[in-house]
């Protein structure tokens, strides 16, 4: 199975990003503020060693991916079937970004509208994004999940999940009292 030229270009770009980040962090580590004790090595010694290695490796990666851009060089002996099982290809990248956006939105909404209401919305969206299309099932599961997690974490593990601000807090408290969480 051969890696495409586009993949190799992407890989070069990634190595370049890693190299730039490593150089930036190297500079930051050189400027850590600490009190030098005799000739002892400072708290930046370990990060500097790691970053030096990272700079060398990323630099080597850039060179290697540029030199080996001709087809076939990065080919490996794994069978297509094995590769498909181990690493299925991505065919819906937009679902991934939607899923990430929904997760970020969930975290923003949770302290405002509370765990119960935000989880209803988030579960519904995530099940839909995960290519499940039975609307009735989605609706039922979206309500069941927050109830189950409230029960599990608030009654068994004793974790205080966010209830949100008024007026949403009232809904959270009502649900909690209905399922016996005090």
């Amino acid at each position: 199975m051969r890696l495409s030229a586009a993949r190799i270009n992407k890989k070069t770009a990634i190595y370049l990003v890693v190299l730039a980040a490593a150089l930036f962090l190297f500079h930051a580590a050189e400027n850590f503020e600490f009190e030098q004790v005799g000739n002892r090595i400072g708290p930046n010694a370990w990060p500097l060693m790691i970053l030096a290695l990272l700079v060398v490796v990323a630099g080597y990666g850039v060179l290697k991916s540029v030199i080996e851009r001709r087809p076939g060089v990065l080919a490996h002996e794994q069978t297509a079937e094995e590769e498909a099982f181990l690493r299925p290809s991505e065919i819906h990248p937009h679902f991934v970004w939607l899923g990430m956006a929904a997760t970020v939105g969930y975290l923003v909404a949770m302290p405002i509208i509370g765990f119960f209401l935000s989880t209803i919305l988030f579960s519904g969206i995530l099940i839909y994004v995960s290519q499940y299309r039975n609307i009735v099932h989605i609706a039922v599961l979206s309500v069941l999940f927050p109830v189950a997690f409230l029960l599990l974490f608030m009654r068994i593990v004793y974790v205080a999940l966010p209830i949100g601000i008024e007026p949403f807090a009232r809904v959270s408290l009502m649900v909690m009292s209905l399922i016996g969480v005090r």
Partner: protein, 497 residues
């Protein structure tokens, strides 16, 4: 003899109701997660971690090790019956297992897998008990430079064995070690890489890295893939087990012995996870087995070798974890996190106090019980367990994400941890998308601080003399081993050309 006394005491502890409940739960969870593509035993161990916060150390570790053990076995059912490998380690199983199933020998293939898992689990657990005390006694003599060299050796083997590209593995490892340096340094109380962001000042919790990279990252990756499982409904009725005869087992004695040596031997080396040992066992069987050339056409050797390879590695991984405090795989890194969360540092000192020694032997005894328990479950409950395949992937994704986020919140009741998990989830997705191996990153985050501590102590004690690492017998040997491990991928590539 003293070890047997502690092992018997440990066995009694295992049969305490709470411990037994955790063992059973762990076995069931391990089976379920290894059957479902997209989950896997590491994610199972990660997701169970938050539930151990309020438990004692023994049931916590019993739960996690039971998930780990049965996670190497449960996947054989879907690989053999449906040609669906729940985990990458199950891929070699389906080549011969599914071929046997198509010939109408599914029950026999499952029987071989069961016998292989039972044999591998019991033998490797015995080896683990036999090696634990000598290894811990040797580890007690370790100086800080020896300890650093052992960690350095562990990190290099992780890199060498983790992926196809040494460059990608090294980058992954460096990222993990850098993540572990974020926050206030313990020796000088200096802020490192926090850039004035309050979220980063306290450092990045290991649980956040594990849950984000393995849990959320995997879900994000799965969202973009074709989630339809094409399974043969008629195969469900074949979910029975038929044991091979004693004569058939004896005929495969070389395969049993060879694969057990490979699984246990490689498992002790950090980095060789169950997937690697499974593939190597199958590869060696193909190369040196009596019927190697016919492997892939539905031979029992093709089921026995990878099953033994993966199951035997579990107990072997526990040796460096419990005796040196060095996790050899992603799952043992999570188990180490569970120890640390309970204020217990695994290492040779665990074997010096009677109380902690009994705790270690309870874990050992639970592993014997896990092996027998998972085989009994495989024999009697498998028809029920394979029903988890009916669960739509979308529903599973929500369950995993909620467990990741709420579980992380439960750790410190802190929304900052949850935000960090999402960040690491996105990083985990990008690692997967661009084919960077995740295990070096995670093990770098786990071993980095321990390595830094040993390195700093050595440098202070020797006046910055780094040649000490090469001048003394133990650390010199380990550093030599590390160099060999780093050169191994280059040698492998040269040999292939």
């Amino acid at each position: 003899m003293e070890e047997l006394h502690y092992l018997a005491g440990g066995l009694v502890e295992v049969f305490h109701p709470h411990n037994l409940l955790m063992l059973t739960a762990g076995l069931l969870i391990g089976m379920a997660v290894s059957i479902m593509p997209g989950l896997g035993l590491v994610m199972g161990v990660v997701l169970a971690l938050p539930f151990t916060y309020n438990m004692a150390i023994e049931p916590s570790v019993i739960l996690l090790t039971a998930i780990y053990f049965s996670g190497t076995y449960g996947g054989c059912f879907t690989a053999i019956l449906y040609r669906i490998p729940g985990e990458p380690m199950d891929v070699p199983l389906l080549w011969d297992g599914y071929a046997m199933c198509k010939r109408g020998e599914a029950a026999k293939a499952l029987g071989w897998a069961l016998i292989a898992a039972l044999f591998a689990g019991l033998v490797s657990s015995t080896v683990m008990v036999a090696l634990a005390v000598p290894t811990s006694e040797m580890a007690l003599k370790f100086s800080s430079q020896d300890y650093f060299a052992a960690i350095f050796f562990g990190l290099t083997t992780v890199v060498a064995l983790a992926g196809k590209s040494l460059v990608d593995s090294l980058i992954s490892l460096c990222v993990g070690m850098l993540v572990a340096t974020v926050g206030v340094d313990g020796m000088y109380a200096t802020e490192r890489f926090s850039f004035g962001i309050p979220l980063l000042k306290d450092g990045i919790d290991l649980v956040v890295v594990l849950v984000g990279m393995y849990g959320l990252g995997e879900v994000f990756s799965r969202l973009g893939q074709d989630l339809t499982l094409h399974k043969d409904k008629s195969a469900e009725s074949k979910a029975t087990t038929q044991f091979p005869s004693l004569r058939e087992i004896v005929a495969l004695k070389t395969t049993f012995a060879r694969s057990t040596i490979i699984g246990t031997g490689l498992g002790i080396i950090p980095g060789a996870g169950a997937t690697i040992t499974s593939f190597i066992s199958y590869g060696i069987e193909k190369q040196y087995g009596q019927h190697g050339a016919r492997l892939g056409t539905g031979l029992p050797e093709g089921v026995v070798a990878p099953q033994i390879g993966s199951t035997a590695s579990v107990a072997a991984h526990m040796i460096p974890l419990l005796t040196l405090g060095i996790p050899g795989s992603a799952a043992t890194a999570v188990i180490l996190a569970a120890f640390l969360l309970h204020g217990v540092q695994p290492g040779p000192l665990l074997f010096t106090e009677p109380g902690s020694k009994l705790m270690v032997y309870t874990v050992f005894a639970s592993m014997f019980a896990s092996v027998i328990g998972m085989c009994l479950m495989g024999l009697f409950w498998i028809r029920v367990v394979v029903k988890v395949l009916m669960l739509p992937q979308g529903v599973l994704s929500v369950i995993v994400v909620l467990f990741c986020l709420v579980g992380a919140f439960a750790h410190r009741n802190n929304m900052s941890d949850v935000w960090l998990i999402v960040l690491f989830g996105i990083l985990g997705y990008l690692f997967d998308k661009f084919r960077f191996p995740i295990s070096p990153m995670v093990l770098g985050a786990v071993l980095g601080p321990v390595g830094e501590n040993a390195f700093m102590r050595t440098m202070i004690a020797t006046g910055n003399d780094w040649t000490i690492f090469f001048r003394q017998p133990i650390c010199g040997t380990l550093m030599f081993g590390a160099i060999i491990a780093l050169l191994f991928p280059f040698a492998r590539n040269l040999m292939r050309r």
